[in-house]
Symmetry: C2
Amino acid sequence: MSKNSIKVFAPATVSNVGPGYDILGFALQTPGDEVILKLTNSKGIKINKITGVKKKLPFNIYKNTATVALASLMNKYEIKEGIEVTINKKIGVGSGLGSSAASSVASVYALNHLLNLKLKKKQLLLHALVGEKISSGSMHADNVAPSLFGGFILIRSYNPIDIIKIKYPNNLYCTIIYPQIEIKTSYARKILPKKVELSKVIQQTGNLAGLIYGLSSSNYNIISRSLTDVLIEPIRSKLIKGFQEIKKSSISAGALGCSISGSGPSIFALSNSLSMAINIKNAAKLVTDNLKLNTIFYISKINKRGPKILD
Amino acid sequence: MSKNSIKVFAPATVSNVGPGYDILGFALQTPGDEVILKLTNSKGIKINKITGVKKKLPFNIYKNTATVALASLMNKYEIKEGIEVTINKKIGVGSGLGSSAASSVASVYALNHLLNLKLKKKQLLLHALVGEKISSGSMHADNVAPSLFGGFILIRSYNPIDIIKIKYPNNLYCTIIYPQIEIKTSYARKILPKKVELSKVIQQTGNLAGLIYGLSSSNYNIISRSLTDVLIEPIRSKLIKGFQEIKKSSISAGALGCSISGSGPSIFALSNSLSMAINIKNAAKLVTDNLKLNTIFYISKINKRGPKILD
């Protein structure tokens, strides 16, 4: 019994987690993008519909993250079927929540199941990365990998790619504060210095080691002490109106830590219970309301599994 | 029943472990310095004897690492007893194996037991650090802390000081290759750049996170993939004749990884069995013999406990 269409959800992700710039990311339960693939009689890939976006995303299949990923996968395995793609964007484009990575992941995951290719996630990874590269301009795995594998992911190395799933405490919650500000990833990269002070690197690495150890040993206290980014956050936070106040209010409300998700503008705060995650949201909302900052909030446990077949 | 003298061993340590520059160290079972403290009728601290060194170490109690540490401790707790100190140096001075840290740690640990002060190791730490600072010129905890606490130690933060004991696999062995070359710690610091490339920092942090995760989850494969230092080793290894050949031969002989201990000249290689540790020693010895490099070797399991009362 094979179906001729499939609908897949792939989760949003938080990358650049605290001191883990470019190497550490985790998956959320919500939001996530949905991709619907439908087998057609004509050859090749076609984008049928894109919903949920204000700004237009490309229908050109060589420019859209989802279809570039699909094309890469189909090319590799010499797949000739005709595929019609519908993308329901539920993650804000340019939100810092791995929107393009999620579409990319949903697409390759969907094709794998639709055609019963029996590929492992590891085999899908490269193609999702190729897709994501089209929109971000460079190959970064810290959104794609957690969206695909779920959980907390360390990109130990990019060349060769080495992905490690990190253990983390069961009751880890994330509050996302997404102010409706536009930040271009390319600009957020451009303002970073090429070189950084060694003394700051020592601070950053101390915190990173602490964070990894705290996560893997389920020690909330160590996680909290370590969730500090002295290299990137001080620079990029200037692009996010109200960042310092939001961070302060989140910590006061009990967050283990709070920093920028991806290259922003989204801000994430971790906590160890749902009620705490809600408290953080409420505290941050007071700040954003006060600043008249139109803001979207999400509350989510860490997503253990990655993509999900909806239909 | 109180004694009027005590003899304490404190272990040598490997600091700057791979990608953990200034933040990661571990203790060895051998070698280690011994300090003998003897209560006297006269007031104050006096150095009686220093054995085991070619170059003279200071007998001036304000300049010797062991007595500076003692004085700091005695001052803090208003201890007026007269103390006579004998130091048996068994760790090479300037070896990169935490020689001054070990003397410092042995001294405060000895005094704590001799006078039954019942201080915790945490309370001894600061005073050992003060002692070590006299010889190294700056406060670095990544030798003192592992010598005092044993095991694998993360210095998450220096200000405030935050020491975290990291879990590590049971069968972790270390081969030390100590070529008889003199490297001044202060010079080894001076040749490091003030700033480093962000792209290298990403590589370094990926490996550090991998190393911490590999250690804490007893995954030798991850430890091995992660035991790489792209920031410091390329610069400091130039001061160590034969470093690249020694490293290559160690890895070929089965080492999980191999890098500089402290600021050198000692080189450490980790492995997961005693026979492997011996193989590594033999392989490295071929190289150092070939280079006519007078070299001392140690083989040791990671030291779990730190200092030990001998007498």
